[in-house]
């Protein structure tokens, strides 16, 4: 592929336009008044900034925001903690069958969620969690374990075993080695896992749609989709709502993009 320097940049800029043009329309439309959306071209800049879309969207999505934070934060903490425990055991306490146990857990990463959806609902009803925020916390924790275990297993593989041996010599037990030695050096791995889990859980739709039948636990993604049904063609409100829904994960991505890519590849390429 003999491409000139200029050719390379031209193609990269065309690709940039392809990836950014939906974002342009998202932002521009969200700042227009409804009348302007239908009187001017959708390509034009807003003639004056109109926040009414945001006001209406925020009113409709506020509870969803609270709900999403309420289950996302605990589920991130639990799944990252369990993944770190598992990753530690799989790499640093060598035991028979560790690889089998790893594959047993890893398999969950490729699970089509459709195949667990019906028993999931029945299970939550049986343990009286259906309609409770804990149903979403437990669900997102459970299905987050495979990826967090993988991330920490890859991370701990690169930690020298001599550190553990030194701890053993000092008479520390396994739990002390984990909390005193491993956790402090795990910060980069924790950041990767937290960002990945936060993005995934915040953006999730299917579990929210299935378990979030009550407005007091319904995630913001499901509420945005409902807004789409009730505000047909009110594109300023819908784009404002979409922007608000995307904001937490976009901010995390723009600040911590490096770690986001690591999480992405941690699950894709052997690290």
């Amino acid at each position: 592929m003999k491409l000139s320097r200029v050719g390379v940049y031209v193609i990269l800029i065309v690709a940039t336009i392809f990836f950014l043009f939906p974002i342009y329309f998202l932002v521009v439309t969200s700042l227009k008044s409804l009348s302007e959306i239908y009187s001017t071209s959708s390509w034009s800049f807003p003639t004056h900034i109109d926040w009414s879309g945001f006001v209406v969207a925020w009113h409709g999505l506020k509870q969803g925001f609270i709900n999403s934070f309420e289950f996302t934060i605990p589920a991130v903490i639990f799944s990252v903690f369990l993944g770190s425990l598992g990753g530690f055991a799989l790499t640093k306490i060598r035991f028979k069958g560790a690889n089998t146990v790893f594959l047993f857990i890893l398999f969950g990463m490729f699970l089509p969620y459709q195949v667990v959806l019906i028993p999931l609902v029945k299970f939550m009803a049986t343990v009286h969690l259906y309609g409770n925020i804990w149903s979403l916390i437990v669900t997102h924790t459970a299905y987050g374990i495979p990826i967090t275990t993988l991330i920490f297993r890859n991370f701990y593989s690169s930690v020298p075993t001599s550190l553990i041996e030194a701890g053993k010599v000092d008479g520390a037990n396994v739990w002390q080695i984990y909390t005193k030695i491993m956790i402090p050096i795990s910060v980069p791995g924790i950041v990767v896992a937290v960002i990945w889990q936060f993005t995934n859980i915040w953006n999730n739709f299917l579990f929210g749609l299935t378990l979030g039948s009550m407005p007091n636990i319904r995630p913001v993604t499901v509420m945005l989709n409902n807004l789409k049904g009730s505000m047909i063609s009110q594109w300023n409100t819908l784009m404002a709502g979409a922007l608000l829904t995307a904001l937490p994960t976009i901010i995390v991505y723009l600040i911590m993009g490096k770690y986001f890519i690591k999480g992405l590849l941690g699950g894709a390429v052997k690290g």
Binding site: M1, K2, L3, V8, I11, L12, A15, F19, L20, P22, F25, S42, L82, G86, F88, A89, I93, A98, N99, F104, I105, L106, F107, G108, F110, L111, P112, Q114, V115, V116, L117, I118, P119, L120, A142, Y143, I145, P146, N173, V174, W175, F205, L209, T221, V222, L224, N225, K228, S233, A242, T245, A246, T249, I250, Y253, F260, L264, L265, A268, V269
Partner: protein, 291 residues
């Protein structure tokens, strides 16, 4: 052997129990239900044999359309995202300026919920004042009611999905390309391999593991496609964009055809296994070799 050799149990047991329940036991439960007559509001565990599967494959037009749609969607999406991803990764690997800017932009859609991107794309495809039809009008081409059209709705969704996931394949390929030792490229160039031949004979074989990974992930995503379809078309118009995962949800949770929904879920699951099991087998082998 000292007492420490059992301490791993405390660390890994919680995860094993949770995954055992939420993954394996739940799968078994769904498989069991798919063999019953539970196509009613109230549970009915009477044995139905394979009848739920038979009816899906023999006299269910919707499911037949779902399979056709899914297997039309799959090659276009998988090939589209992989070819585009490889192409963009190759360009980024040429030591360009602002590389991290381009990477950040290409991967941005991956940080956004499919509900958000679906909503944006519905607006872009809007037939009255959507960005795409406005553009078509400006260059004097006939406008298209993208999502309302039997023939254009599925391609429209494929484009939106490629937009969402191409940054992912780009990242996978970029990591693969970065893993090729520079000496090999230089040696090949000295032997006269340039341009297309360099890519075909050297680079593409060297990123084979990236290709396998990207392929498995994209196929798996295709088979489970739900969110973006639910948000953009709900499977319409007239099931032109319906997929098994969408039908499964409707059957199980809206129509109370629980056993039928379970059967669809099992079929989606088996299709996924057909690509994931060989992949895990390969990955497992690599893991053993390393340890």
């Amino acid at each position: 052997m000292n007492k420490r050799s059992f301490e791993w149990i405390g660390f890994i047991l919680p995860s094993v129990i949770i995954v055992g329940t939420f993954v394996y036991a739940f799968i078994a439960w769904t498989v069991a239900v798919s063999f019953t007559n539970w196509n009613t509001l109230l549970p009915n565990w009477s044995f139905a044999g394979l009848s739920n599967y038979f009816s899906l494959f023999t006299n269910n037009l919707r499911f037949r359309m779902d399979l056709i749609n899914n297997f039309t969607f799959l090659p276009f999406f998988v090939l589209g995202s992989m070819v585009l991803g490889f192409f963009l990764a190759s360009l980024l690997n040429k030591g360009v300026k602002f590389e991290s800017f381009f990477r950040t932009v290409f991967l941005l859609p991956m940080a956004i919920s499919l509900v958000v991107s679906g909503t944006i794309w519905v607006w872009l495809y809007d037939p009255t004042n959507g960005a795409i039809d406005v553009l078509l009008k400006a260059i004097r081409l006939p406008t298209i009611n993208w999502l309302g059209s039997m023939s254009f709705a599925l391609p429209a969704i494929i484009i939106a999905t490629i937009w969402q996931y191409t940054g992912f394949t780009t990242s996978i390929y970029l990591a693969g390309l970065r893993g090729i030792p520079q000496e090999i490229i230089e040696a090949a160039k000295l032997d006269g391999a340039h341009g297309f031949r360099l890519y075909w004979n050297i680079i593409i074989p060297m990123v084979q593991s990236s290709t396998v990974t990207a392929f498995v992930l994209m196929v798996q995503l295709s088979l489970q496609m739900f969110d973006i379809i639910w948000v953009m078309t709900s499977g319409g118009p007239a099931f032109a964009t319906d997929m098994p995962a969408v039908y499964m949800f409707i059957a199980a949770f809206k129509q109370n055809f629980v056993a039928q929904g379970a059967a669809i879920a099992v079929i989606v699951f088996l299709l996924t296994l057909a690509v994931v099991i060989p992949y895990l087998f390969i990955a497992g082998k690599i893991t053993e070799e390393e340890s």
